[in-house]
């Protein structure tokens, strides 16, 4: 379930954290699902066990996973992430939006830039908060 891109500039433990968070958000990992053991991750990726322990520690601290001594590591009952019910629906509409953007001739890089701009644009963020307040 894990992949590591050494040399990407993102620390390896953070790559592991992000992959679990993403899978939980998308509902690929559900509350109560068991994660692989540290040893399994170490063997499949050839990464340092301290790195995997650090990633699991970080995920536990974030309330995404729970570790039960002697049993294993599991996705928490209510992981502190965006609602897993909403995310797949949003992903569907985003996929359609991306399809439109591609048809209009935008490259993957340009699409990412648009998304970054939309996320970082303070004016829009205020709009959204205002809309939240009104709703």
């Amino acid at each position: 379930m894990f992949r590591v891109d050494a040399g990407s500039g993102v620390p390896i433990y953070r790559q592991l954290v992000q992959q679990v968070r993403r899978d939980v958000m998308l509902g690929r990992l559900r509350p109560g699902d068991q994660l692989p053991s540290v040893k399994e991750v170490v063997d499949s990726l050839s990464v340092n066990p301290n790195t995997v322990v650090k990633a699991f520690g970080e995920l536990e601290h974030q309330g995404i996973i729970v570790r039960r001594q002697g049993v294993g590591t599991f996705v928490a009952a209510a992981p502190s992430m965006a609602s897993p019910l909403v995310a797949p629906k949003l992903l569907g509409s985003l996929a359609r939006w991306v399809e439109t953007a591609r048809r209009d001739g935008l490259s993957a890089e340009q699409i990412r830039m648009l998304l970054d701009v939309a996320l970082d644009d303070p004016a829009r963020r205020d709009d959204r908060h205002a809309a939240d307040g009104a709703a």
């Binding site: 040399g7 500039g9 170490v42 340092n48």
Partner: protein, 290 residues
């Protein structure tokens, strides 16, 4: 946490004038996998040899696996570069010697590992390939079950599958027994996966030592129009200029806020290592506390 390797003012001088290593201060916590990086002749092997008790100390002190190396030989496992073993001996003889000379030697594990690798116990060391010879040496050191592994370019002769297999065994020794590994290599690209602690040596001196994630947080790669590196709350480690732009690795103080027009990010692992290998030696900090 106790230190697996502690050096204070450690130095070794070859002959009258040539310092292989000088004024080396290190405090490597137990359980870490340490990348030991530096150009040829920078002191990696000298440091490992002193930690293994094989080379006398000229100045300072070294403690390995909790004591003076000479008193801790059964807890230290050293594999020298190119895995030197007697070429006339058979593989089984080498394992026998390992068993006789080490109290806690895991004979079963050693025999299983050699069989699993498809190496004939009757074969003479001199008839093995470089990779097979390395595997025999690594099997010896794994079966010894040391607290401190000193591995001088251990995977240089291994193919990719053998690398993965050896790393699995080494990581198991770390997580099961809490062993510490000092691991020297020139293959910077693979060190990021393997190690969580970094020591950069250059010209016989420690230039950088510490937890890799913490080191990355304390450094920045900054890019901007030529001339920007002068001034600012940072120390420039290395810099390059191209087409009017300067890109540099800098070490930050507590606050490091690049001015307008500068792009800054945390360095990738190889940018950090290469920055310290590449930088103007005169400019480098004498020593960075771990």
């Amino acid at each position: 946490m106790s230190a697996a390797l502690r050096c204070a003012g450690l130095g070794h001088r070859y002959g009258r004038h040539l310092w292989g290593l000088r004024d080396c201060n290190l405090d490597v916590p137990t359980g870490r996998v340490v990348a030991l990086v530096g150009p040829n002749g920078s002191g990696k092997t000298t440091l490992m040899s002193m930690a293994a008790g094989l080379l006398p100390v000229t100045t300072g002190t070294v403690q390995a696996a909790g004591g003076a190396p000479a008193q801790r030989l059964d807890r230290i496992g050293f594999v020298a570069q190119d895995a030197p073993l007697w070429p006339r001996l058979r593989v089984a003889d080498v394992l026998d010697i390992g068993r006789c000379m080490n109290r806690a030697f895991d004979t079963v594990m050693a025999a299983d590992r050699i069989r699993g690798l498809g190496i004939r116990p009757r074969a003479r060391i001199g008839a093995l390939s470089g990779g097979e010879r390395a595997q025999v040496a690594l099997t010896l050191v794994l079966a010894k079950k040391p607290e401190l592994f000193l591995l001088d370019e251990p995977m240089a002769n291994l193919d990719p599958l053998a690398r993965r297999e050896f790393l699995g065994s080494m990581f198991e020794a770390c997580s099961q027994a809490g062993a510490t590994v000092l691991y020297s290599s020139h293959a910077v690209a693979e060190l990021e996966r393997i190690c969580d602690y970094l020591i950069v040596l250059r010209a016989g001196q420690v230039r950088l030592a510490g937890d890799i994630d913490e080191l990355r947080q304390r450094h920045r790669v900054i890019r901007g129009p030529d001339g920007w590196p002068d001034g600012g709350g940072w120390q420039v480690i290395s810099q390059r200029s191209m087409a009017g732009q300067t890109i540099a690795l800098v070490r930050c103080g507590n606050h490091c806020v690049p001015g307008p027009g500068l792009e800054a990010g945390a360095p990738a692992f190889d940018e950090l290592v290469l920055g310290y290998l590449d930088g103007d030696a005169a400019r480098l900090p004498e020593e960075v506390p771990a």
